[in-house]
């Protein structure tokens, strides 16, 4: 179950070694790039580049497939639905009553699907190669308040625990004859009360204990904090950062300064 909560795969690749701050910024810049590009060919090149990085992240095959299946479904959905709503352009290929399908709309649909594919899968690079701990640390370094960073890492840490508690509560109630497969929405949601109430109570109790544990270790005694492990930019991080900035800057200048259609 934890596999679906934490996508991180332990490995030693240049992506794993990269400063998490650079990774976060790079993913954001690549997402921006997907918005700037309109030409299907360039979008396909970007998608291929992202897929290459996903491949290089050395996530297990089954995990990659699990992640990409979701992206692929979304892309197919867009390709199918886009021409039905975007009716501009000629030649019109087919029309039936109010519905007409034009050729440019089909191409625009495919381009949008590839763009969404880029936007969705670029995040997998970050998720596959960055541990939750590094991710939170990078966000704090980028200016997130430490308290929020801690809250974020605690919720990530306790999510699998919480799922396990819910499972054990469900078991206990089923042993008392609770039928959660019963049909009918009202009856079923009423039955889930028997699971939700103990789950919320147990989550509140955990939070209470946790805050005591934090305070007993002098949490918040000083406003600033030091870290056992510092993240530091290395030359390779600067190179990667410059590379991604260039990847975004060149098409952006071409499109917005020289008004080239890309």
């Amino acid at each position: 179950m934890t596999g679906f909560v934490d996508f991180y795969t332990e490995a030693d690749t240049f992506l794993h070694r990269m400063d998490p701050r650079v990774k976060i910024v790079a993913v954001l810049l690549l997402s921006l790039l997907a918005f700037i590009l309109t030409n299907l060919l360039y979008l396909l090149v970007l998608l291929a580049f992202i897929m290459l990085l996903v491949y290089l992240s050395r996530a297990t095959f089954s995990r990659t497939m699990f992640a990409l299946k979701f992206v692929l479904r979304l892309m197919v959905l867009i390709v199918v639905l886009w021409p039905l709503f975007d009716r501009s352009g000629t030649p019109v290929l087919a029309s039936l009553g109010p519905i007409s399908i034009s050729e440019p709309a089909i191409w625009r649909g495919i381009a949008s699907a590839v763009r969404v594919g880029c936007l969705a899968s670029v995040w997998y690079i970050l998720m596959f190669t960055t541990s939750q701990r590094d991710l939170v640390r990078a966000l704090v370094k980028l200016g997130l308040r430490f308290d929020f960073g801690l809250a974020l890492s605690i919720s990530l840490r306790f999510f699998p625990t919480f799922l396990a508690t819910i499972e054990s509560i469900t078991d206990a109630q089923r042993a008392r004859g609770l039928d959660l497969e019963r049909r009918g929405l009202i009856k079923r949601s009423r039955n889930y009360v028997a699971v939700l109430v103990p789950a919320v109570v147990s989550a509140l109790k955990t939070a209470d204990t946790l805050s005591l544990a934090l305070e007993s270790r002098a949490y918040g005694a000083r406003p600033d904090r030091t870290y056992l492990r510092q993240i530091r930019m290395r030359p390779s991080d600067y190179v990667a950062f410059a590379g991604v900035v260039a990847m975004l800057a060149i098409p952006a200048v071409a499109r917005f300064v020289f008004l080239v259609d890309i």
Partner: protein, 286 residues
Amino acid sequence: MIPESKAFGIDDKVISVRNLKFTYEGGVEALTGVNLDIKRGEYVAIVGGNGSGKTTLAKNVIGLLRPASGTILVKGTSTSEQKIAALARIVGYAFQNPDHQLFCSSVTEEVRFGPLNLGFPELELNAQVEHAMVAMDLLEVKDKPPISLTLSQRRRVSIASVIAMNPQILIFDEPTTGLDMKESEELMAGIGKLNSEGRTIILITHDMKLVARYARRVIVMSEGRVVLDSDPAGVFSDLDALLRSKLVPPPVVRLAYRLSTQGVPRDVLSPEELVLRLMMIRGEGK
């Protein structure tokens, strides 16, 4: 309180497990071939180190987990043919953590939840709830919200909510964890009473003192199978097997072993018995 007690005759095995294997998702082999029979009215303790498969076995018996292979017969019917709710009428399982099931605003409501789910007619439902509350000594707190009670009371509420479904077989998973001496003695007395009503009791525990005192049969589990199955004295006499299963006999039994050179027999199970034996030996000496 058990309506079908007379109808139940020739074959008095209430639970019969054959070659039961179970593997968790992710590949942990929790049960590697369990064989055992439990008869009507027995008081059995299932003991074993953490991860020996005790709870997994119990969850298979009540149908929450389905065997990978092998069979489990509960009162002669295979569990794989029955729904969990149908099995709950026969086998009650009191979970380790009471807070994983308490959700109602009063103790009475909480105890009524199970039999209500099983569709008991109103008259029988009231009788069973009353009986369960008396058995677990809850009448004083019957209108209070269960969450506001002490751990001992909460555990008794969760047990009462299982008893109220009137199962012939009751499985208790570590019922005394976190209770003080007095609380656990009261609870065990209540469980003893349920056994004398004719119900089969299965006690899952680490606590060997509890086993020495209450169980009449002990099943030792290790690495997903049954390694010893005997009366308490018989099980405690096999020290090597116990140690291999990460268990140690209770202190009084170990003391009796040390004193066996002085003529103390090895089947002593309680301090009272040891004192009696020692007095007999001294009497003979004089």
